[in-house]
Symmetry: none
Subunit: 140 residues, 2 copies
DNA sequence: AGAAATTTGTCCGTATGTATC
DNA sequence: AGATACATACGGACAAATTTC
């Protein structure tokens, strides 16, 4: 099969079906999802596609994966909002140089700098935050 | 996003940023680079573009890739006294999470985080400041 | 205690289709 | 037309963590 993604890509369709099983209780909260190898057989999709589908659910906190163990269906303690809570991972904004940054860059306090903040997640929770500062003029 | 490669193609720009992180010590020599999947998320680029960027660095011996393991940043006996870059200045210290960081990590305000600050100079003056935050427990 | 099997993590190479410069 | 880039998808292989025998 080539790569026909009519409307919805396959990994989203698979993710939807898995999500439905969790919400309906077919897969109980706290229990393991079928292994990737099982899912590839069941959905007749490549492992990469299955992993992409699971990644979608992980992003939405529906599941959590552990290396060597498997992927667990999450209990649902928080309905805080709905599924709307997926923020951008990288944001850029202008900031005003404080004393420390001004000293580092050798500029005056208050001068505008660009700050890019990248949030790196692992199994839903934030693992690393990277903030990069540079001077607008120096390009990038 | 479309394909606006102003002058430089995207994969070279990404390669440059990764190279900077290695030379500046943000990515320590001998340590693993973020996985392809992480880099695609961080740079918002497709896997092909990320792989192209890494291929550039591999070509220049800046990194070495091991099948199934990852891509390592190479120690650099290379042109250490280059005109463009001076000694990497990376300092690590413990900081207390303020409101923003606490919200990002999902922790309480005041919890200690590790901050690594790297200063990248070019031709003497500070070009970029990178601050990386992570939780002591979650390894590095 | 140790070996084997299981499972996820990562990289490799390739392919198709679309879109932009 | 060609290079660049994106999104999607396949199959294979090796690595690492965990579980099972």
């Amino acid at each position: 099969m080539p790569t026909p993604h009519y409307g919805q890509p396959r990994y989203r369709l698979i993710a939807d079906q898995l999500r439905e099983r969790i919400e309906s209780g077919v897969i109980l909260p706290g229990s393991l999802l079928p292994a990737e190898s099982v899912l590839t057989a069941e959905f007749r999709a490549s492992r990469g596609t299955i992993r992409q589908a699971i990644a979608v659910l992980r992003e939405a906190r529906f599941v959590a994966t552990e290396h060597g163990r498997g992927t667990y269906a999450n209990p649902r303690p928080h309905e805080w909002g709905s599924e709307k809570y997926s923020e951008p991972e990288a944001t850029q904004r202008e900031v005003s140089a404080n004393v420390e940054l001004a000293a580092l860059f050798g500029i005056d306090v208050g001068v505008t700098l660009i700050e890019q903040e990248s949030v790196i997640r692992r199994d839903g929770s934030v693992e690393t935050v990277v903030r990069t500062y540079w001077h607008p003029q120096s390009g990038r």
